[in-house]
């Protein structure tokens, strides 16, 4: 039985120690907001926070998070995440939406470590993949949430 904190509450799972955290979250605990995209840590759709920092849960054996605090997109009461979610709605960021949980968790981790990131900081931190191509809006929404000057808005006439 492996125990950890999930979004502030204790949880436990009777699973193999090498089952990736992603599948424990999705299949055992019913938290399907965290997505499976590649299973090799390349796309970032499975990004969650471990002790406040972004990790890729598809390559994280659940045993490695035992006794620690895990936060997912379903977390409530996180001011940074809430600010990002509001900015995401303001900029109408998602298209299909599949990668967006991971994007938001990566962005929340970035802002927690660097409350006012530059474009270069965003480039370096946001390595999650989006097939719909929402990147320009991801960047703009992070700036909005961080209250840093955003690049000029895309022109719409």
């Amino acid at each position: 039985m492996i125990q950890f904190q999930l979004n502030g509450r204790p949880v436990q799972a009777d699973v193999e120690p090498d089952m990736p955290l992603l599948w424990v979250l999705r299949d055992e605990l019913g938290h399907t907001g965290t997505k499976f995209g590649c299973g090799v840590g390349a796309c970032g759709a499975c990004t969650v926070h471990l002790e406040g920092s972004a990790i890729r849960s598809c390559v994280m054996p659940v045993v490695a998070v035992a006794g620690q605090s895990v936060q997912t997109i379903e977390a409530e009461g996180d001011a940074v995440l809430a600010r990002l979610q509001a900015a995401w709605v303001q900029h109408q960021v998602p298209q299909c939406g599949y990668c967006q949980s991971g994007m938001l968790m990566a962005a929340a981790s970035l802002l927690r470590q660097n409350p006012h990131p530059s474009d270069a900081d965003i480039d370096a931190a946001m390595t999650n993949l989006c097939r719909c191509g929402t990147y320009v809006r991801v960047r703009a929404a992070i700036h909005t949430a961080a209250e840093t000057p955003a690049p000029p808005k895309t022109e719409v006439a």
Partner: protein
């Protein structure tokens, strides 16, 4: 009469112009579809339903407590909530917002009260605009007309009731029916209010979900009127708004699907959880078409949670109580595969077949204007110039310019891996699937399970990326076959990323030969283009209907090549169809995705051969295409075309009409350490009346990223009969850090709505290749774009 005339006629059937359709006559207007004039008398005789025919009866919609349906598209609740049935898949292109917007506009609903829900499967929801786009118009040579007619017949039969999301057609299809449905419902609500007040209906107004008494004071909410309105017969005649009266169309409305997509609550196919569900992971035949000869699942069955090891066509499946356990256990299954005739097949085999076809094959002519071949032969006496890969071309005097272009197979790589959940129990099938083709999914499930389609219940979760991949129903067939062997337990089948890459229906690899005759001044007088590729629509049709012919003219293979907008006196464009074991399908923008690269780069070559500016060269040949001209003018102006750039930067331009819209892009690029950097993309689109502007901008932004990914990295190769690429690191996707700045401009337009999901894709690759030519003088004629390292330059790994 030419087929092009008929196409224009059909467009006016699918949805009349905003200016002319105020006051639609609903009295059973019928139009003959497709080829009424073919061969001077061959009548297809199939009538296209009008928007009024598609109003539908209220009982099409599922019953909800406290709601009444007024037709097949809208339900109104006693609290005033308006629910619009959306028969298209929400894939992030905003249909759950834009389609309700059309209905709400004519209903005069309060937008805050409007909700969207997936429509059931019914004939009224069939995608007529997409169907019309599939017809092989463009075939001009008399001899091909009859064959085109047969093709139209077959296609019509198979897709007439196709409830599908593709071909950038959702708005084009919904423009008529949803507005008529809204206006009809509004008229019924007004009539009830007028009766209650004992006033003339025509003296009442509507606003924000309420009918307003002629005194301007008394008001009745739609929720108070709907139950009585449902007892009325729909009016025979409704007047649609003049576009000047639009309150919702063309304005910003927040997308309805977004809130659930930022808090993890959005449910995609892969998130479906059904009580008693088991999970499946497959071992699929690595070689195309191979089947299971034998397998041994005994070791897998000893693993924790593993319940069954099953066989379905072309695959073995492990069934377990969790997907990860199923996936782990499949490593322990031993499978022997049958031999196939193409166990040694490689991409080079297809390249050789293409070369042979282009040298010797007979091409179906799609365009025959003037005498292109005669003029080219004449000019050849002045000497041919064959362009070498990478070399710039310069000619003087009457000459022939020749070039061969190539684009590879591509994967869709939607981020949600292919999945499907199915239950087969007591003669019924229940299906949960992220799909672009609801009606086909239901049909295929019924066919596989051997039940009537009425016995199939379909659930339509959100789609985590379609791009054409989810126009296929292979996953439905697999999941139903599994569920037929699990004693009534629901089965959720999920592919790995590796399977998703290796078992796709790929964008066809394509080759194009160009020959152009130039006059004394280097001006083009003749254009001959032959395109060799597998035909995607034919291939998809045969997968569904094995008796259908795979040899018919296939517009989707040649689109973007036969409809080049430039006035060139002599033009011939031919299609050559290749055969290959590699399955091909519809990849965002389909034939345009490679033909725009071919034609817009070759046009650039012709401009340079003449010594003309590429924008000026195009404008000079767009005299009869005012919309193309305006789009090109605008993109040149906004991009600062011709103005100085930082050292080492250059611009390229491309223009492509597709899916009813016209899009031009200017790309500013440089080379850094041998790597292509794209700094800025200026994008201008004329997509007719804009229904939801922010969605159009988002689609342009997304299309640029999608197309840039393909232009820089996209390539699927085959060796030993199997795809060589596997997970994402093998087929990189563009990252945020490499995303260029974008300036997107929507042309104000009163034309009928055009598509927006795809038209932003085709111009990017040629605009980038043309920029790289301007930068280096090296002409890149193959995708992905890989500039040769300069002699002495540092190699970049």
């Amino acid at each position: 009469m030419s087929p092009h005339l008929k196409t224009g006629h059909l467009k006016s059937v699918a949805s009349a112009t905003p200016a002319s359709d105020a006051g639609v006559n609903p009295s059973r207007r019928r139009f003959l579809l497709a080829g009424a004039a073919l061969g001077g008398g061959l009548l297809v005789g199939c009538s296209a339903p009008t928007p009024e025919d598609r109003l539908g009866s209220p009982d099409v919609l599922p019953v909800r407590e406290g709601h009444v349906s007024l037709n097949g598209w809208v339900r109104i609740a006693t609290d005033g909530t308006v629910t619009v049935a959306v028969p298209r898949a929400e894939m992030g292109q905003g249909v759950f917002t834009a389609l309700p917007l059309l209905l709400a506009e004519e209903l005069d609903a309060d937008w805050d009260d409007v909700r969207a829900e997936p429509a059931p499967v019914d004939r009224i929801y069939a995608n007529q605009a997409m169907m019309l786009n599939a017809l092989p118009f463009g075939v001009e040579e008399e001899g091909w007309l009859v064959r085109a007619g047969s093709a139209a017949l077959e296609r019509l039969g198979s897709v007439l009731s196709l409830q599908a999301t593709g071909g950038s057609s959702s708005i084009r299809d919904a423009w008529g029916p949803l507005r008529v449905a809204g206006a009809t419902a509004r008229a019924m609500l007004v009539q009830v209010a007028a009766q209650r007040w004992q006033v003339e209906a025509s003296a009442c107004r509507t606003e924000a979900g309420r009918v307003i008494h002629p005194d301007g004071q008394r008001k009745l909410g739609y929720g108070e009127l709907a139950a009585d309105a449902a007892k009325l017969a729909p009016p025979e005649h409704v007047r649609l708004k003049d576009p000047k009266q639009f309150r919702l169309i063309g304005r910003a409305a927040p997308r309805q699907d977004i809130p659930a997509k930022v808090n993890g609550s959005a449910v995609f196919g892969i998130d479906v959880r059904v009580p008693g569900m088991v999970c499946a992971s497959l071992i699929q035949a690595p070689v195309f078409g191979a089947d299971v000869a034998s397998f041994d699942g005994s070791e897998a069955l000893k693993q924790r949670g593993v319940l069954q090891v099953l066989r379905i066509p072309h695959a073995v499946a492990v069934i377990a109580d969790s997907w990860w356990r199923a996936k782990q256990a499949r490593e322990l299954v031993k499978v022997q595969w049958t031999a196939t005739p193409h166990d040694a097949y490689t991409s080079q085999d297809l390249a050789r077949a293409a070369d042979e076809a282009l040298r010797e094959g007979f091409g179906m002519p799609y365009v025959m204007r003037g005498d292109a071949e005669g003029r080219i032969e004449q000019a050849r006496k002045g000497g041919a110039v064959r362009a070498e890969e990478g070399a710039a071309t310069k000619v003087s005097g009457p000459r022939v310019l020749e070039a061969r272009y190539h684009a590879p197979h591509l994967a869709h790589a939607a981020l949600e891996p292919i999945n499907c959940t199915a239950r087969v129990h007591e003669g019924r099938v229940e299906l949960w699937v992220s799909t672009q083709v609801a009606s086909l999914a239901r049909w295929r499930a019924a066919q596989v399970a051997g039940v009537d389609t009425e016995q199939v219940t379909l659930h339509l979760p959100l789609v985590g990326g379609g791009f054409g991949r989810r126009l296929e129903v292979d996953m439905v067939e697999q999941a139903v076959r599994l569920a037929m062997q699990t004693q009534g337990k629901p089965v959720k089948m999920v592919w790995t990323r590796e399977e998703d890459t290796q078992h796709d229906f790929y964008r066809p690899a394509a080759w194009a030969d160009f020959r152009a005759a130039l006059d004394e001044q280097g001006r083009v007088i003749a254009w001959h283009n032959r395109v060799a590729a597998q035909p995607p629509t034919n291939m998809a049709t045969v997968r569904l209907l094995p008796w259908a012919s795979s040899k018919l003219p296939d517009k989707s293979q040649i689109e973007g090549a036969f409809d080049v907008p430039y006035a060139i006196e002599h033009m011939k464009v031919q299609q050559l169809q290749l055969e290959s074991p590699v399955p091909v399908g519809f990849w965002r923008s389909v034939g345009h995705s490679y033909n725009a690269f071919f034609t817009e780069c070759f046009a650039d070559e012709l401009a340079h051969a003449e010594g003309a500016d590429p924008v000026a060269w195009r404008l000079a040949r767009l005299g009869s295409q005012p919309r193309h001209r305006a789009v090109l003018d605008e993109v040149a102006r906004r991009s600062g075309w011709g103005t100085p750039l930082p050292a080492g930067h250059a611009r390229g331009v491309a223009l492509q009409g597709s899916f009813g819209s016209i899009c031009a892009q200017v790309v500013e690029a440089s080379l850094e350490g041998g790597e292509v950097r794209v700094h800025r993309v200026t994008c201008v689109i004329d997509c007719g009346v804009v229904v939801h502007p922010d969605t159009v901008v988002a689609q342009m932004q997304g299309s640029i990223v999608f197309a840039l990914t393909a232009a820089l990295f996209g390539e699927i190769t085959v060796a030993q009969g199997r795809v060589q690429q596997s997970s994402l690191p093998d087929q990189p996707l563009l990252t945020l850090a490499r995303t260029p700045k974008m300036d997107v401009h929507l042309m104000p337009s009163a034309h009928l709505p055009g598509g927006v999901g795809e038209p932003g894709v085709p111009p990017l690759a040629p605009a980038l290749a043309n920029a790289l030519f301007a930068l280096t003088g090296e002409r890149l004629r193959s995708l992905p774009l890989r500039p040769k390292p300069k002699a002495g330059a540092t190699a970049v790994s």
